[in-house]
Symmetry: C2
Subunit: 149 residues, 2 copies
Amino acid sequence: MQQAIDLSIQNVANGGGPFGAVIVRDNEVVATGVNRVTANNDPTAHAEVSAIRAACQREGSFKLEGCTIYTSCEPCPMCLSAIYWAGISRICFACTKQDAEDIHFGDKFIYEEMARPIFERAIPTETFMRQEALQAFRAWDEKTDKVEY
Amino acid sequence: MQQAIDLSIQNVANGGGPFGAVIVRDNEVVATGVNRVTANNDPTAHAEVSAIRAACQREGSFKLEGCTIYTSCEPCPMCLSAIYWAGISRICFACTKQDAEDIHFGDKFIYEEMARPIFERAIPTETFMRQEALQAFRAWDEKTDKVEY
């Protein structure tokens, strides 16, 4: 966790957001990440997502079972979901989403939005063409050589 | 939406997951994306996240205000959060998360996990060293030339 915190502090000096993450397996660092949203024009480049991408490239796998992620702040819903998709086994965080809110990072708002019914959220949402789109799901279902996850 | 659906069908044939997304501004396609999780060993490479990254690179911005995202399936919590972070103005989706569940994509499980108290979730979670980590937030707060988002 000290390394994740050190990264978060250094990243502020390097023009990034105040967030750092370290992914560890068997006491060995697999990869690290920092927030590069504004530096790289990538709204998905949060510390945890960046660390997950780097760890998966290093491991040659889209799964990180057995890994722990140490993150300097409670993951936002995007990063938390990425942690689930990656199959990470344990999460350790330091600052809270309220702390992030206090310096104007809107994690808490997104958590609140998630909890609202789809069509009552702040971003207007519509649905249509479900029948047409289900063709892809049928193609997937029928495919015999697919890589499932 | 037809283009997003076409991409999702083509992507199954191309070894990817059955998901496609198109980002549009003023009736012009800004970028498209497909699911390349297993193909690229990147658990974050969902169609929507891929489209957002591509659109931001094209626009030279970490914000996509005024854009609509058309996605062949209801966004998972990771993609939905990425849509919020990107400031996208409107969401249109075709298949539902229940449809995704039916072909064994675990979006629904992650939505359920989000709604649970942090320390009762399936992935064991701990928190410590908040005071040390708050140093980065103070450094951010005091920085005068930062790019906020």
